[in-house]
């Protein structure tokens, strides 16, 4: 059975801190690793990584995938209160299915 494990499950930081969220995966017929941000209801797409070692960046967020070691990290620099959310990691398999982890709940306090 496919499995995605995220750590930590929750994290509290102060504004301006840098955080690293971890995601390890065991996904049969793995094709891609996706990160989503979930604030209230619907997860919103952040990144998709398909090649190992390539960093994707969007503003203060960046992510990298290690296909050899089967993990990915999501970095957020200079955190803001608006970054408070649950961050979901998902492994994509050959039939376009996603297996999600439980998420990391990030709380950024002023």
């Amino acid at each position: 059975e496919d499995k995605v494990v995220q750590s930590p499950l929750s994290l509290v930081v102060h504004e301006g801190d840098t955080v690293t969220l971890n995601c390890s995966y065991e996904v049969t017929n793995f094709r891609s690793l996706l990160w989503y941000k979930q604030e209230k209801k619907a997860p919103t797409f952040l990144f998709m990584l398909t090649s190992s070692g390539i960093e994707k960046k969007s503003g203060r967020l960046s992510s990298i995938l290690d296909k050899k070691e089967l993990f990915s990290i999501l970095n957020i620099t200079a955190t803001q209160t608006g970054d408070s959310a649950i961050y979901l990691c998902a492994g994509g398999a050959g039939s376009y299915q996603l297996t999600f982890g439980k998420g990391t709940k990030l709380s950024v306090i002023p």
Binding site: V4, L88, L98
Partner: protein, 116 residues
């Protein structure tokens, strides 16, 4: 571009009652997914459609859950009869699917179901 639409947004029912959720995916998206997200968990795939055909329903509790996507566009998910453990947010998502490596899924706002 309009997003994924879902209704209702909230539903409260008693156990053993039935309930139906509706989803309209992004125009042109061939693949549609229904997820169940229990509080504190990540979304769990219930069923995946490619156009109007089922790709995977291995995690759908078929004794009480059913879903259809008759014309390859809108979809409905039904629970009959509901149990307390069905209380969750039901998310619908869509993606382009097809022959390319298009895994990016767009989610609707979800339906929060409470079974009492």
């Amino acid at each position: 571009e309009a997003g994924v639409a879902q209704s209702p947004r909230y539903k409260i029912i008693e156990k053993r009652q039935s309930v139906a959720f509706w989803c309209n995916p992004i125009s042109g998206h061939a693949t549609l997914y229904w997820y169940q997200q229990i509080l504190g968990q990540g979304p769990k795939l219930l069923i995946q459609f490619q156009n109007n055909g089922v790709v995977d329903d291995s995690q759908l509790p078929k004794d009480r859950f059913s879903a259809e996507r008759l014309k390859g566009v809108d979809s409905t998910l039904k629970i009959q009869p509901a149990k307390l453990e069905d209380s969750a947010v039901y998310l619908c998502a869509s993606s382009l699917g097809g022959g390319g490596l298009t895994y990016e899924q767009y989610f609707g706002p979800g339906t929060r179901l409470t079974v009492t």
